[in-house]
Assembly symmetry: C2
Homo-oligomer: 120 residues x 2
């Protein structure tokens, strides 16, 4: 069946959450948002492209930092209201320079930092 980005379910702001996962290790790297045009651009270019809610602009991941996400596989969930993008991530995915944004664990009621920023 041909895929149409308009067939997805977007929220009241026209956005859908997209989970980025390292295609090789399975590590969950980050979650950000796409609109229909960002979904189309991601598929067309193979460069994962989000919609920045703070800047209200397209955000080609890594465009300024070099920490690009090359699309390996795009998946849609059963309700068509969430995406999973499996990627080849260059360098850190997180703006704190950590590999993943999910570097804080809650253990025994405390916050524990699991990762340090990457070098360079």
């Amino acid at each position: 069946m041909p895929f149409d980005p308009a067939s997805l379910t977007y929220d009241s702001n026209g956005l859908i959450p997209a989970i980025a996962q390292d295609a090789e290790s399975g590590e969950v790297l980050m979650m950000a948002w796409m609109n229909a045009e960002a979904v189309a651009r991601t598929l067309e270019t193979g460069r994962v492209t989000y919609w920045s809610r703070s800047r209200q602009a397209f955000w080609v991941k890594g465009e300024s930092s070099g920490h690009v996400q090359e699309l390996v596989d795009l998946r849609v969930d059963c309700d068509r209201d969430c995406l999973l993008v499996q990627v080849r991530q260059t360098g850190p995915a997180c703006h704190t320079n950590r590999r993943s944004c999910f570097y804080t664990a809650i253990r025994g009621g405390d916050e524990v930092e699991l990762m340090r920023p990457m070098e360079g």
Copy 2:
């Protein structure tokens, strides 16, 4: 640092997205929503508990189906506006009886079904 669910950033409906990942295989199983009380209950009980937007009620995953999610680790992202719950999933995570909700891939412009419903 002690963790307080009130320290997370919730959307205008008081909700935060929570990504459920198989703690062993790394497979991303589903995405659903929690409010602050669901986060607290998940940590207290070790049973992953969401907030059902359609039913407007707490949703202890697997309470009726038996397809429970036992919490292994809870992670917070850098912006504190998304959660990653690593779980031991009993049976399928998806209401379609598939292991994961992300069973549809977009490949070559077409939708491809990657998983069949589990037996039983």
